[in-house]
């Protein structure tokens, strides 16, 4: 049934620097196994993935359910989700005076490793250019520029376990000049240096942890960031605990002297195949934004690593099931056979299909739980496979067995959240949340929302509520006061079987 984790014990042991132990490797540019340990947190066996949060939560998953079902190996949180637009306004979370404000604020379990970065992953390009001291963020109400001082102060205040150094990357820019690339590495170095100084001079009570720093590795050629890398090695390497890598293919160029550090990928993968590629290049911790985007589209993952041993078929199998399809409406089967997640052990496809088509939020939650479980077991088995020395062979069968991409999205996503509007597709002039049937009946009027069961008209402003319930929007669609239409030969859909 529920894969409840035992209540985490709050460790009293002061946290040391990240301890990363490479357990197995076959050389550079090869998959490796490791153990990533933060004092007081659950150790992570790598390669593994971090849960990708939005405003401090895994989308669709309330924090209690995250603790209960997601079993994720830690989370990635973006500062931009907590910053308010107006410069004079201090982000509310900064005023929360408890030992670990960010963790407490977002109600994250005590044993979950917490990694803070400046931007969401993937970041939405911002129109403002970066300066020598600041980058541009996208907050819930608009763009805001944030200086490296601000970022370091935020890290000091929020006390995540790991802080990813602020990187000067002009996201969304198609071509970047050599001059600009020089600037990227200069600024990133200066900002990292500032973060390191801030952390190292932070006054903390004895035994109280500071935070660990992951140094960004820029998505540009090695010789263009060689100065930065040299300085990193010369005088910062002792102060950093890991690397945040924006382009997995640059692992090739990573100086040997940085190989002992854990590598966090901020290189956005599009598919499980790309995850395997990153792992094969030696990535340790990965972020997998496609989990939530698939969930939003109603796609339930259906893949295992290595693929099941079934008679060879000439058609490649799909990586996910589109749960919008009506064919699932009567299927009393789990999303994936054998999956031990909450959604698969407690519910079935028929219910999940119903929830999606009824626009009930629980549908997305169940798919989200399942998709996280599938990716979790994908990583578990790829670790086993690396250990057994069968990884390359399994990757080959995986690629032969499954389609290269996740299925096309057909269904409607849940109501778009703020950050969805600003993606590149935003340029299209479409209605953000189009309604389905427009409520018109034989050309008669528009939908009018009128009283419903349980609605009690109330004069008090705070008690008043508009009926916009998705369920009721479906029920309305008929103009108030329109004269009755006489309909003959009425039939209830279910009468047919009688």
């Amino acid at each position: 049934m529920s894969q409840g984790r035992p209540t985490p014990e709050v460790s009293q042991v002061p946290r040391e620097m990240v301890d990363f132990e490479v357990l197995k490797t076959t050389g550079a540019r090869a998959p490796r196994l490791g153990r990533f340990t933060l004092g007081g947190r659950k150790p992570i066996l790598t390669p593994a993935f971090l849960g990708n949060t939005s405003r401090g939560v895994i989308p669709h998953m309330s924090p209690d359910n995250f603790g209960r079902y997601a079993g994720s190996n830690g989370v990635y949180v973006a500062l931009e989700d907590f910053v308010e637009k107006h410069p004079e306004k201090t982000p509310p979370v900064f005023e929360y005076n408890v030992p670990e404000p960010l963790r407490r604020f977002a109600a994250l379990p005590q044993d979950t490793p917490l990694v803070l970065g400046a931007r969401r992953t993937p970041p939405i390009p911002t129109p403002a250019t970066h300066t020598n001291t600041a980058i541009s963020l996208l907050t819930s109400v608009g763009y805001k520029s944030v200086s490296s001082e601000y970022y370091a102060a935020a890290a000091r205040k929020l006390r995540p376990d790991v802080v990813v150094g602020m990187a000067d990357i002009p996201f969304g820019q198609a071509t970047i000049s050599i001059k600009r690339k020089d600037k990227m590495s200069d600024r990133t170095e200066a900002w990292l240096r500032h973060l390191v100084t801030t952390r190292n001079t932070m006054a903390v009570a004895p035994g109280e942890p500071r935070f660990d720093i992951f140094a960004p590795i820029l998505p540009i050629e090695r010789d263009l960031q060689s100065w930065y890398l040299e300085h990193l090695l010369d005088d910062m390497v002792d102060s950093i605990s890991g690397l945040a890598i924006y382009d997995a293919f640059l692992l090739d160029d990573l100086p040997d002297a940085l190989h002992h550090l854990p590598r966090l990928s901020l290189h956005v993968p599009a598919s499980p195949h790309e995850l395997l590629r990153q792992v094969s290049l030696g990535m340790d911790l990965l972020t997998v934004p496609f989990i939530s985007s698939a969930t939003d589209a109603g796609i339930a993952f259906d893949f295992t690593f290595p693929p099941p041993e079934t008679p060879k078929s000439s058609v490649r199998q799909t990586l996910g099931i589109d749960m919008w399809h009506a064919e699932h409406a009567r299927a009393v089967t789990p999303l994936s056979k054998g999956c031990q997640c909450y959604a698969c052990t407690k519910h079935h496809r028929a219910y999940i299909q119903h929830l999606l088509s009824a626009k009930e939020m629980l549908g997305w939650f169940l798919i989200q739980v399942h998709n996280h479980a599938v990716v979790e077991s994908f990583f578990t088995s790829l670790r086993t496979s690396i250990d057994a020395g069968t990884f390359d062979a399994h990757v080959a069968t995986f690629e032969a067995y499954y389609e290269p991409q996740l299925p096309e999205k057909t269904g409607q996503a849940p109501r778009a959240r703020g950050y969805h509007f600003r993606s590149e597709e935003h340029a299209k002039k479409e209605k953000k949340n189009p309604k389905r049937w427009n409520g018109e009946l034989g050309g008669k009027g528009k939908a009018v929302l009128e009283g419903a069961h349980g609605q009690q008209p109330e004069k008090k402003q705070e008690m008043m509520h508009v009926i916009d319930d998705e369920a009721l929007i479906d029920l309305v669609g008929i103009e108030h006061g329109a004269e009755a239409v006489h309909v003959e030969d009425l039939k209830i859909e279910d009468d047919v079987k009688g």
Partner: protein, 401 residues
């Protein structure tokens, strides 16, 4: 035949309030009770476990919605709505006529049933008492509601009101006739008659004579004056047998609940607590707080001090320790924000009824009512007149000291 037993445990010595345990096919439930509304077999993003954790053992589904989606054939194939939504506790299905008639202005009521156009695709539909019961039999709800003919209580057309009341009685007979499983599902009648007390009395007598396992008072919560509402409830409960549960449909504001209990009602349902959560509204004993207001952005207290819901309980007690500031941070931006407030609001309503029940069992309900209103309003002058009047009618003077 009936599939429930009503165990009366205590009565208030002043008001008409009662405390009981209702033994239903999927377990006992305490009365008085508030029932959250999971219209489409799901409660606003909560898992059955999350709903259960807030103390819920009886919730509503909507017959008409489930009849459309997933449809009767699917419900039959899966074996009913409990299995469909993995809810091991009790379900009540709403007969829907209220929604059909007041919501769908194009609906047309004939003796045969309610004709209307599907809001999904505009296709013509007919809902008859037989069809409603057949659907509810397929759903397998522990409590089923009859199909009734409802018109808004504020309608001035007394003749139409009388017709609707009498038709509801005839439809009850058809429902009873059509009910296939009276030994495992309880069919409740619904008293109609608008705000006309004579019609209500007449209807009550007809309904009581048909001896259903439970009795509902319907057609209310449609915008009528609150004192009129109270008169109807008071009149009906005065004529009802003591040993049967009394359900007032569609009622859910905290002050309505405590007053209606004093007037002798036992069961309530309302979508308001869960719907309003989606707009950032938190129900507390001091009133409703809209947590989207910027003043809460730096309020690091719980939604309500001392609340034992999953959100408000501190982490040391196994809760999440959610702050008002965090609800402000997520509400209307992430669905999880709505899930959090939904849990709190459901818990608030269920806990309120638990406190009500304790007070009745200890025969201190009048004192409970006084302290309830004193918390909700900072001054006696702000007490709603209808509540003061209704409670005076059952022996509690809120304004005295």
């Amino acid at each position: 035949p009936s599939a429930l037993s009503f165990e009366l445990l205590g009565k208030c010595s002043v008001t008409k309030a009662r405390a009981a345990t209702l033994h239903l096919p999927h377990g006992p439930v305490p009365l008085p009770i508030f029932m959250p509304v999971a219209t489409q077999a799901s409660l606003k993003g909560l898992t059955p476990e999350q709903l259960e954790k807030q103390g819920c053992r009886l919730c509503l589904n909507n017959t008409y919605h489930l009849g459309l989606k997933p449809g009767q054939a699917t419900l039959d194939a899966i074996g009913g709505a409990h299995r469909f939504q993995s809810w091991p506790h009790n379900l009540l299905t709403d007969g829907d006529s209220f929604q059909m008639v007041s919501l769908l202005k194009l609906a047309q009521v004939t003796e045969e049933g309610v004709r209307f156009l599907s809001p999904h695709d505009g296709s013509p539909m007919l809902l008859t008492p037989e069809h409603s019961i057949s659907l509810q039999n397929s759903i397998g709800s522990d409590i089923m509601m009859q199909l009734d003919d409802v018109i808004v209580t504020t309608s001035p057309d007394l003749a139409r009101m009388k017709e609707a009341m009498e038709r509801s009685v005839r439809w009850l007979d058809r429902c009873i006739q059509a009910h296939k499983y009276p030994e495992r599902q309880n069919l409740f009648c619904i008293i109609q008659g608008g705000l006309d007390l004579d019609l209500r009395r007449e209807c009550t007598a007809e309904m009581v004579a048909r001896d259903t396992p439970g009795i509902a008072i319907g057609g209310l919560s449609g915008g009528e004056a609150k004192d009129e509402y109270c008169k109807v409830v008071d009149t009906c409960t005065g004529l009802l047998p003591e040993k049967k549960p009394r359900y007032v449909m569609g009622v859910g504001y905290p002050e309505d609940l405590v007053v209606s209990v004093a007037l002798g009602a036992d069961m309530f349902d309302c979508v308001w607590p869960t719907r309003t959560a989606r707009f950032g509204n938190a129900i507390t004993s001091r009133g409703v707080l809209n947590l989207r207001n910027a003043v809460y952005s730096t309020d690091f207290g719980p939604i309500e001090e001392g609340c034992q819901c999953t959100c408000c309980r501190p982490p040391e007690d196994g809760g999440l320790g959610i702050t008002r500031a965090y609800v402000y941070h997520t509400t209307a931006k992430e669905t999880a924000g709505a899930h959090l407030l939904t849990m709190h609001n459901v818990h608030y309503q269920l806990n309120l009824m638990r406190l009500v029940r304790e007070a009745i069992l200890e025969d201190r309900y009048p004192a409970f009512l006084r302290s309830f209103f004193a918390k909700l309003y900072d001054d006696k002058s702000k007490y709603p007149e209808w509540a003061v009047g209704a409670l005076k009618g059952v022996g509690v003077d809120l304004l005295s000291d």
